[in-house]
């Protein structure tokens, strides 16, 4: 497994990013306070909205984080590589979708993993499906979408995304094979 600087940001960088987050928060609060000072008639509306969204968030965020933490520790990279390397066809796409959707970390971790999978023999369609599922069908995301946008919105978008991501995976595989065979834009990394 490739482990370079981009796949695991050093601790110092993570801490710096966090500090930036809190500074940005402080700035936002100050700005909001100033704005509401100028428009006192908007205070009730603004605080009521903020309060209701805060309550909605606070009742689910710890649970979502626990689910995320558990999956990131219990689903190892070895497991993903083991199952995704050999699965193909519809089954392969389903496995890729499932592993991509498991909450196991941010997108920048998925690229080196996808590259490793590719070298282990996973097909292009599986890699594309895996990456896309990792990006947009993550379980914690779906839970928060369910909370804020409702079951109809979440389910419709989820089903449509699953269908189109699968189609896109197969389509990209065909394009890459077709162009590679004709020597169009063959890149070292992608060509078999």
């Amino acid at each position: 497994m490739k482990q370079d600087a981009t796949s695991t940001p050093p601790r110092k960088k993570a801490r710096k990013e966090m500090a930036r987050g809190y500074i940005l928060l402080a700035a936002t609060l100050v700005a909001a306070a100033v704005i509401l000072r100028i428009f006192p008639d908007k205070v009730t509306a603004a605080t009521a909205t903020t309060r209701s969204y805060f309550l909605e968030m606070v009742t689910i965020l710890p649970a979502v984080m626990i689910i995320m933490g558990l999956f990131s520790v219990f689903v190892s990279r070895e497991l993903v590589v083991k199952y995704m390397g050999k699965a193909s066809g519809i089954r392969g796409i389903a496995v890729a979708m499932l592993f991509g959707a498991l909450p196991t970390g941010p997108l920048y971790l998925a690229f080196p993993l996808a590259a490793a999978l590719r070298s282990k023999g996973a097909s292009i369609s599986n890699i594309v499906v895996f990456l896309s599922a990792w990006a947009c069908i993550k379980i914690p995301q779906e839970l928060i979408e369910l909370q804020f946008l409702g079951v109809k919105f979440m389910a419709a978008r989820l089903i449509l995304t699953i269908i189109f991501v699968a189609i896109m995976g197969v389509f990209i595989e065909k394009i890459i094979e077709w162009t590679d065979n004709r020597g169009i834009g063959v890149s070292q990394k992608v060509a078999r």
């Binding site: 690229f111 292009i124 594309v128 990456l131 834009g185 992608v190």
Partner: protein
């Protein structure tokens, strides 16, 4: 607490009990990861909640609905999809933002397009994707993702 929130919490509890039964040490480690990600995401969550409060208090629904509502048409949809593709904000906080936009007059299609491109396409992570998977695959994946995001959005606008 809403039903959804209760279900999510029960799900987390179930996972937790299962994990504890399987492996105590790794569960502890997982809780460490959970606390760390919680502390990391917290400022972004507060920022977006404050911004939503201001947005709902100040932005008149007519303006929002003219920009990204039903009247905005296909151009508005493409614009917000493009915005989602370039922006780099944590997905978890994009949902409350999307909900507030919907509440104040945005169209279902626009909101769906925004969320889908926001999650699926990463302008910021594109260089890394190119480095790891090659230019052809990275461009194809991101480019086609934009197209399917628009299709998904239009379908959602039609059925919801």
């Amino acid at each position: 607490m809403s039903t959804t929130a209760i279900i999510i919490n029960l799900l987390a509890l179930g996972c937790l009990v299962f994990a504890l039964a399987r492996d105590r040490g790794r569960t502890k480690q997982a809780m460490g990861v959970a606390v760390k990600s919680f502390v990391r995401i917290l400022p972004a969550v507060f920022i977006i909640i404050v911004i939503i409060g201001l947005l709902m208090a100040f932005a008149p629904p007519e303006v929002i609905s003219r920009l990204i509502g039903e009247q905005a048409g296909f151009g508005g949809l493409l614009a917000i999809a493009a915005l989602g593709a370039v922006l780099h904000i944590p997905t978890l906080i994009s949902f409350p933002l999307a909900a507030s936009l919907l509440q104040s007059g945005a169209g279902v299609a626009s909101v769906a397009a925004f969320i889908t491109t926001l999650t699926m396409i990463g302008a910021v992570t594109l260089p890394l994707e190119i480095k790891e998977l090659g230019r052809k695959m990275a461009f194809l994946r991101n480019g086609l993702s934009f197209i399917i995001a628009v299709i998904i959005a239009l379908t959602m606008g039609a059925i919801l």
